[in-house]
Subunit: 210 residues, 2 copies
């Protein structure tokens, strides 16, 4: 699919992969800020600067575009902000604390809280369509599984005593998601930071010898 | 405003309070299941069986209707499911555990998860309009304040050792909200129950003598 101009300039008509990426960028941004239902395909065409033919070539329906946003963009954002940092941290708890503080820092820098991309779409779309629901549940699954795996590694190394790593991972994801909703309602990072302190207080109690 | 027929039958044209209530019922349901943006005023008129004149008499704009749903319906639901049970429970922690288990029980009975009414609207509307954001933040404030007050009562009675009741209350609300989002994505009560177990494990550690 990928076909980029040799001189690096954007060649719209010969760069289907670039068109697809631009459509996903614009759609991901619009679905987060305005919502999926409130965003029209015509607006997206205009904002992405693509023709109807190009849009419908890549995404024959709005639903196909919604699913691609979930599978390509929302999943990638969860992987980048949560899964990779927790997987590669020297310690599960430090990794989790680090994710919260980096995200809070990002909110303060931007001065606005658009919220968790996955939770935003779940609350709007989980009831709208079973395909959306399944795609979003798959992102939650990957997120929880990565945290649970990291908790188990620490447990096996004798650093943590965890009764049920899957449940604890679901709880960590829940605390984060709910804290982001409060941060969004206040348009401030403070609720996220408060919840992070309380969560880490719980989790520190699981360190062996704590 | 209230004017009900003496024989108890609905007298549409002479029952402005009943009309207002019916509009709020229909709007609250539609905003939760389809979303605020995706719901049209004409649909609401039809579903509530009221004329345009009656609708615009009570709610001159869709925004006025949205604010009334938040202030009258969403606030009342948080008060009924969370604030009152926690306030009147013999013990804060038992009160909180009871709320989670009653809500999980309700989800299992209905076999569907529409999610937390406040969080659903926050994620859709917090960025849409400052008046919506403030109205929703006021509901979060009342919710957190009620839990914090209950935690303080238990602390003063020597039953709990809480470092920061306001932060802990925000964390409890966050854990609940995030757990409901996962329950909505899975359309099952299980994630709510898993998170409740993990939360109560944290909170039980705060009992004095625990």
């Amino acid at each position: 699919m990928s076909e980029t101009a040799s001189d690096g300039r954007r060649k719209r008509s010969y760069n289907p992969e670039g068109t697809r990426r631009r459509l996903l960028d614009v759609a991901a941004e619009a679905f987060q800020s305005r919502g999926y239902q409130a965003t029209g395909m015509h607006e997206l065409m205009r904002e992405a600067g693509v023709t109807g033919g190009a849009l419908y070539h890549h995404f024959p329906t709005k639903k196909a575009l919604g699913l691609a946003v979930i599978r390509d963009r929302v999943a990638a954002e969860v992987a980048e902000t949560w899964i990779e940092p927790v997987r590669t941290a020297p310690d599960a708890l430090d990794g989790i604390a680090g994710v919260f503080s980096r995200i809070a820092e990002g909110l303060r820098r931007r001065g606005a809280v658009s919220g968790c991309p996955l939770n935003n779409l779940v609350l709007e779309l989980a009831l709208a369509d079973p395909a959306f629901r399944q795609a979003m549940e798959a992102v939650f699954d990957a997120w929880r599984a990565a945290i649970a795996a990291r908790l188990r590694t620490d447990q096996e190394a004798g650093r943590l005593a965890v009764a049920d790593a899957d449940e604890l991972a679901a709880f960590i994801v829940a605390a984060y998601s709910g804290a982001m909703a409060q941060a969004k309602a206040r348009q401030e990072a403070a609720p996220l930071e408060a919840c992070a302190r309380q969560l880490m207080r719980c989790l520190e109690g699981l360190r062996t010898g704590a």
